[in-house]
């Protein structure tokens, strides 16, 4: 190729556009409203059978009836109760073992293979066994959730501890900090971001196991409610239950975001 002989000054073309995420406020809301409007009109025009997929309006109506009838609170109350107990139990246990694995070589040597072996078991598969041990009542459901939450918490906790910069620990030792203080003032706060990220995962695992456990022998609870509605072909009630779950998940997620923002305000 011969060199370009052109003495005229030319503009340098801009080549750096795109590939940047810019916030588009309101776009999500518009898409949401459009989708629901489409669904609603499809139901109104009779394109979708109300038995298979009820309209958004009838789902809202079912929700309103549930609220005024008072049964909604009973279902949600029961579910929250189980979720809170199970999650707390699993989280406390998971934090304890996670810390032990993260800090002491011996507990790591023993605990890590054990956790690796038990973690992949879908915990819902253990529910029948847990029912045999603990009975059909609350304890077996709580235990299922706790088990499901326990292992991811262990893994999140010890990985977070592994991620605490060693130089900060050496620094603490160089100032003669007692081991308890190194743990309390350096390791724990340093591992907190990772632990909180684990909470996000375990909260959703807890919710999944909650519904599954409630579908196996429970009188009240969102899972039981959805199952009953399905058995009676009350799809509007069924979907009202699903909406409740979605709202519950959102509320938990928002709560965790708040907690993160407050605890990690130094970031």
């Amino acid at each position: 190729m011969s060199p370009i002989r052109n003495e005229q000054a030319r503009d340098v073309p801009f080549r750096g556009g795109g590939f940047v995420v810019v916030p588009r406020r309101g776009a999500a809301l518009v898409a949401f409203v459009l989708l629901i409007a489409l669904w609603e009109s499809a139901s109104r025009f009779g394109w979708i059978s109300p038995i298979f997929l009820p309209s958004p309006a009838s789902i809202v109506q079912a929700l309103v009836e549930l609220v005024s009838g008072g049964t909604l609170w009973k279902h949600i109350g029961q579910s929250l109760h189980r979720l809170a107990f199970g999650w707390l139990l699993g989280t406390l246990g998971g934090l304890a073992l996670g810390f032990a694995i993260g800090v002491w070589s011996l507990s790591r040597a023993v605990g890590l293979p054990l956790v690796s072996a038990l973690f992949p078991i879908p915990k819902i598969a253990l529910l029948p066994l847990l029912i045999l041990w603990l009975g059909i009542g609350e304890p077996s459901k709580v235990a299922t959730i706790a088990l499901g939450v326990f292992f991811p918490t262990v893994i999140a906790t010890f990985s977070a501890i592994d991620g605490v910069p060693r130089n900060l620990i050496r620094m603490g030792q160089s100032f003669n900090l007692p081991a308890v203080d190194v743990l309390r003032k350096i390791v724990l706060p340093g591992a907190l971001p990772g632990i909180l990220a684990g909470f996000r995962i375990t909260a959703s695992i807890g919710l999944i196991l909650l519904v599954s456990a409630e579908m196996i022998g429970a009188e009240y609870g969102i899972g039981a409610f959805i199952l009953q509605a399905g058995n009676l072909m009350q799809t509007d009630q069924l979907l009202a239950g699903v909406v409740m779950l979605s709202v519950l998940g959102l509320v938990i997620g928002t709560g965790l975001t708040r907690l993160e923002r407050w605890l990690l305000r130094w970031r």
Binding site: S174, F175, D181, P189, W266
Partner: protein, 256 residues
């Protein structure tokens, strides 16, 4: 307080990092440890302060620990080692909290060192809000708060840009000249060593041995004068001659 290194050697698996190091850090002096990368400078400093266990030899201290000293051998780190979740004040307090000082004594110490390092107005700032130079000042303030007898500094200026380094070096000097704290200063920067140190210990590389100890018999305050420059420049050339060949080898090495 004096620090005496006797026949210290250290190995990482097969690699002999340090061998037969004998060294004495005299009361009130600043000793610079220089050498090419991988010569075990930082390892030696870690052993001197008791945060690394040498595989051979021993390190002893001799002399009075000054009154009020909570941590005779105190480090200043290359990467500052500040806790990001604590404020400037909180980071300094970390070194004091476990000593059960009276509350007012602790407040006084913190206020005093923050004032001496020019950090008073940044008391409540978090490390991420500060520049590199300011972060290292926090590291210095934290070290001063425990009234050290010996300061152990691991390339404290290496993570900073050239201008900040210059500024902080002046601050260091002002501090030395006023307080005369015994100090060991690890660096790979000859200019820093020649500006700050009373003696320069040159380490050889793999195994790290004491190659030569060069005294700079010129008060730090006079080292910027034109007449001193010529002498320092000769010393610079001599030190560079001692480490150049090994630095070249180090630079061409594939890290295992």
């Amino acid at each position: 307080m004096e620090l005496i290194v006797e026949g210290v050697s250290h190995r990482y698996g097969e690699v002999v990092a340090l061998e037969g190091i004998d060294l004495k850090v005299r009361e009130g002096e600043t000793l610079a440890l220089i050498g090419p990368s991988g010569c075990g400078k930082s390892t030696l400093l870690g052993i001197m302060g008791g945060i690394l266990q040498a595989t051979g030899g021993r390190v002893r201290i001799r002399g009075e620990v000054p009154s009020g000293s909570l941590n005779p051998q105190t480090y200043i780190f290359q990467d500052f080692a500040l806790l990001p979740w604590r404020t400037v004040e909180g980071n300094v307090a970390l070194a004091l909290e476990h000593h059960s000082l009276p509350a007012d004594e602790m407040t006084r110490r913190i206020a005093d060192v923050l004032q001496r390092t020019g950090l008073s107005e940044f008391r409540t700032a978090f490390p991420k809000q500060l520049s590199g130079g300011m972060r290292q000042r926090v590291g210095i303030a934290r070290a001063l708060a425990v009234r050290p007898a010996i300061l152990l500094m691991d390339e404290p200026l290496s993570a900073l840009d050239a201008q900040t380094r210059e500024l902080l070096m002046e601050d260091f000097l002002a501090l030395w000249l006023r307080e005369r704290i015994t100090a060991v200063y690890v660096t790979h920067n000859l200019t820093e060593a020649l500006r700050l140190a009373d003696r320069v210990c040159v380490l050889s590389r793999r195994p790290g041995r004491v190659r030569e100890i060069v005294a700079i018999d010129l008060p730090q305050a006079e080292r910027t004068t034109p007449s001193a420059q010529a002498r320092l420049s000769r010393l610079h050339d001599r030190l560079w001659g001692l480490i150049k060949a090994e630095a070249q080898v180090a630079e061409r090495e594939v890290v295992a």
